[in-house]
């Protein structure tokens, strides 16, 4: 007869675990991965594999030789970071830049803070911005879409829709010409446009988002507040600062255009909703999402960079501890107060 266990309540536990959560997120990223291979060919596969493998390798090396502790590469978090890092870069990026990115993501963005759950900033975002600033040319030279191209040749490059707009304005092109150069809405929705390898296909990202929502891994608060704020805030800017807008006629294209370009969907669904770096309460998540939306639009309209999502997420990640401190859940029996 075995000895009976003695421990405190509760004596049962849910079947869910953080490992299951991580691997479900990996599955939710698969539609975008497949879409990237469809549109960008072999280059996308190469970049993603290098990214994931280097992230795993670097985490394993750090845990074995620097920390000299147990390895946790099987919990799936390094794979997620690898995938998200790959999705944030163009598919023709040289392999050594990706490895540097993985080093920054895992080494600085995650392990330097103490490992899983202890980082303040989203590791993939940290790496992406690091690469953007350190290798601006390689990070802003996107390949042209070539469907199901497995030749491995990424010779032809082309700009993203946002870059088309910014360039067009700089060159003083008339509105009609700029609009003609942009891909139409359906193309942008499916992913038939230039951009980093994971951010182009809206439909694949939305499918991934639905998987996450149905599994209750993310809640609707952050994506809806980010996207809603972007739409509303661009309207706001149009009404009150019409001269900053590209042109009055272009504003009619803007809500959809802003939502489908510049990595907004990837950021709103996968990067900003990262559990470790986002607020814990629903109220906090809404505030977080609204601020990300505002900062993104500000950078897009008045900033130098064509896309502002990653900077917005990085800035708000820094505010998450403060949001957690300010917006506490309403205690049972207490009236609603905001902690001063």
């Amino acid at each position: 007869m075995n000895m009976l266990q003695i421990s405190g309540s509760p004596h049962i536990h849910t079947q869910d675990s953080s490992r299951k959560i991580m691997w479900t997120v990996v599955i939710a990223l698969m539609p975008a991965f497949l879409a990237s291979i469809y549109f960008f060919g072999l280059g996308a596969l190469k970049v993603t594999l290098i990214s994931v493998i280097s992230c795993l390798l670097i985490e394993w090396l750090i845990q074995k030789f620097l920390i000299k502790g147990e390895t946790t590469i099987t919990d799936g978090s390094a794979v997620i970071t690898g995938l998200l890092l790959a999705f944030n870069v163009p598919s023709n990026l040289p392999w050594w830049i990706i490895v540097i990115g993985a080093l920054v993501a895992i080494g600085i963005g995650k392990m330097a803070f103490g490992g899983l759950g202890k980082n303040i900033f989203n590791p993939a975002i940290v790496a992406r911005i690091f690469l953007l600033i350190s290798f601006p040319v390689q990070m802003t030279t996107w390949p042209k879409v070539s469907i199901l191209d497995f030749s491995g040749v990424d010779a032809v490059t082309g700009p993203t829709p946002l870059a088309i707009v910014k360039e067009g304005l700089k060159n003083g092109e008339p509105f009609n010409q700029i609009m003609n150069n942009l891909p139409n809405n359906l193309d942008m929705f499916l992913g038939n446009m230039g951009g980093s390898l994971g951010e182009t296909s809206a439909i694949a990202l939305i499918i991934g988002g639905i998987i996450l929502l149905s599994r209750r891994i993310i809640s609707w608060h952050i994506p809806v507040s980010i996207l809603g704020t972007i739409v509303i805030f661009t309207e706001f800017i149009y009404y009150f600062f019409p001269e900053s807008c590209i042109s009055p006629e272009m504003h009619t294209a803007f809500p959809m255009f802003h939502l489908l370009s510049g990595g907004v969907l990837l950021g709103a669904i996968f990067m900003a909703t990262d559990m470790v770096t986002s607020p814990m309460t629903k109220k906090g998540m809404l505030l977080y999402g609204v601020c990300i939306g505002i900062i993104t639009v500000l950078i897009k309209v008045w900033g130098a960079y064509p896309e502002g999502m990653s900077f917005a997420i990085l800035i708000m990640n820094g505010f998450t501890p403060l949001i957690n401190k300010w917006l506490k859940p309403k205690r049972f029996g207490e009236k609603l107060t905001v902690k001063q």
Binding site: N2, S7, H11, M280, R331, F332
Partner: protein, 478 residues
């Protein structure tokens, strides 16, 4: 939310405002007018495992020796008034509660008092106990043992409370608070709601369900007695949706009695927690540090209501309790067992411990206590004996907090377990106090839900213990 309103965008302002108002008030409206009531904050849905729902109540055979602890209730232990060698009958008072918060104890079997000794109860605490060698089953003559249902309540409020005190009735939901003390409303407070807790939200346990099906009318009369003691005209009996047969039976019987309201509750843990039950039925929230009577509510368990019926109408003191014997590898049973029966008798009568038993638990799997000592005896409030399998009871290796926020979402008291457990671990008890750790009802929802298997409730209990000691030290200094 404020940001939306700050936008000076006239096309959206009115719609957004209206939308927010609808969302917030829709929740409140639904809570008030819905047919099925629930509490709004937190809660989890563990596997119900109500295997014993269909097992009819059985009388467990009297043991050869009963051992009755002098302290089977909250408050001061009762003073033993019998001596070694004395003959006792069933229902004879053998220990008297002397202080204000205390309860009487009565012999559960007839026989001879063989010794009075200190023993360990099932949780390992030392208690004084009376050993009775059982002979026959002779009852006190004043107890009415007939099965007739007496619905006429002749006693007045003060007499009812005295009878409940005399018969040693305590809260049989598990806390064992002396019922007569709960019914004596302090000056300045008024009882407005009399609520009977028949939610039975913990998995496995089915005794409230069976007594509602088999002894429903007596339970309702007991509820009427309790409301009369409180000078009220209405009593609310809250029953969770997974007990459809009980709800149907009780609703039919309740039609014969005025002012007995059967309230259907959504099946959600911890619906049976006092504060959550009051929120669901009366839509009032008990503030932190206060008692239910501060919002005008008195809550009693369903088994307590039945015991009150037997005490007031049949002059029968508390000498037995209803319990469920269940588990994944066990034939489920519902027993009426005399107080002081050895737990090992019950286990052996059901074929001993199953091969895959990991833990024995008294109470539910969420809040029950682990049984440390198999040489223990049933007592008041011992509502179930569960065999938890090794697979269910296994404590996984905790990993880093991934800050998913699920513990915050499920906490019914609106606390932040991830934060409180870290503060407790680091010994920061002043901050624990300001983060309201003392409001924790120890329901275990946080630890159940944590995907990283972190021992949140263990740290919360540590924190509550130390913070409580700190608060008491501060009060005694002033």
């Amino acid at each position: 939310m404020l940001f939306f309103i700050l936008y000076k965008n006239f096309f959206f302002l009115k719609e957004i405002n209206f939308f927010l108002y609808i969302c917030k008030s829709k929740n409140e409206y639904q809570l008030k007018h819905r047919h099925v009531k629930t509490f709004s904050k937190g809660g989890i849905h563990p596997e119900e495992n109500k295997f014993a729902h269909k097992s009819t109540l059985e009388d467990f055979p009297n043991p050869k020796q009963v051992v009755l602890y002098a302290s089977q209730h909250l408050g001061a232990p009762a003073t033993i008034i019998v001596a070694k060698g004395e003959n006792v009958k069933v229902g004879q008072m053998i220990a008297k509660g002397e202080s204000f918060v205390s309860a009487n104890l009565h012999a559960s079997c007839s026989g001879v008092v063989s010794k009075i000794e200190t023993v360990s109860d099932f949780a390992g605490f030392k208690k004084q106990a009376i050993f009775i060698d059982v002979e026959d089953d002779i009852w006190e003559e004043s107890i009415d043992r007939s099965p007739d249902i007496i619905s006429d309540i002749k006693m007045e409020s003060t007499e009812i409370i005295n009878k409940i005190k005399e018969c040693g009735i305590v809260g049989l939901g598990g806390a064992c608070f002396p019922t007569h003390v709960k019914l004596m409303i302090p000056d300045g407070k008024k009882a407005q709601y009399c609520i009977i807790n028949a939610a039975e939200c913990e998995p496995y346990i089915s005794v409230d369900n069976r007594i509602m099906i088999e002894r429903g009318e007596e339970l309702i009369i007991g509820a009427c007695i309790l409301r009369k003691a409180l000078h009220l005209n209405d009593v609310y009996i809250g029953i969770e949706q997974n007990k459809s047969e009980a709800i149907a039976n009780m609703t039919t019987i309740a039609k014969k009695y005025n002012g007995v309201h059967i309230v259907t509750l959504k099946t959600k843990y911890p619906q049976g927690a006092e504060k959550q039950l009051i929120k669901a039925i009366a839509n009032r929230e008990v503030p932190a540090g206060k008692l239910p009577i501060d919002v005008g509510c008195v809550v009693d368990n369903a088994c307590t209501a039945l015991a009150v019926y037997e005490a007031v109408q049949k002059n029968k003191p508390l000498i037995s309790n209803y319990m469920t014997y269940s588990g994944k590898s066990v034939t489920p049973k519902n027993y009426r067992v005399r107080l002081g029966t050895p737990i090992s008798n019950i286990i052996e009568a059901n074929g001993g411990l199953a091969e895959n038993t990991g833990k024995l638990v008294s109470g539910g799997p969420m809040m029950g206590k682990t049984i440390i000592n198999l040489n223990a005896f049933t007592a008041k409030g011992f509502s179930s004996l569960l065999q938890i399998t090794t697979a269910e009871a296994k404590r996984l290796q905790p990993s880093n907090c991934i800050r998913c926020g699920r513990c915050v979402n499920v906490c019914p008291m609106g606390l932040e377990p991830y934060l409180l457990s870290v503060l407790s671990k680091q010994g920061r008890f002043e901050e624990c106090e300001s983060e309201q750790i003392m409001s924790c009802i120890e329901c275990g929802s946080c630890q159940f839900t944590c995907p990283s298997a972190r021992p949140l409730l263990d740290y919360m209990r540590l924190g509550k213990n130390k913070t409580g000691a700190m608060i008491r030290a501060r009060i005694s200094q002033n």
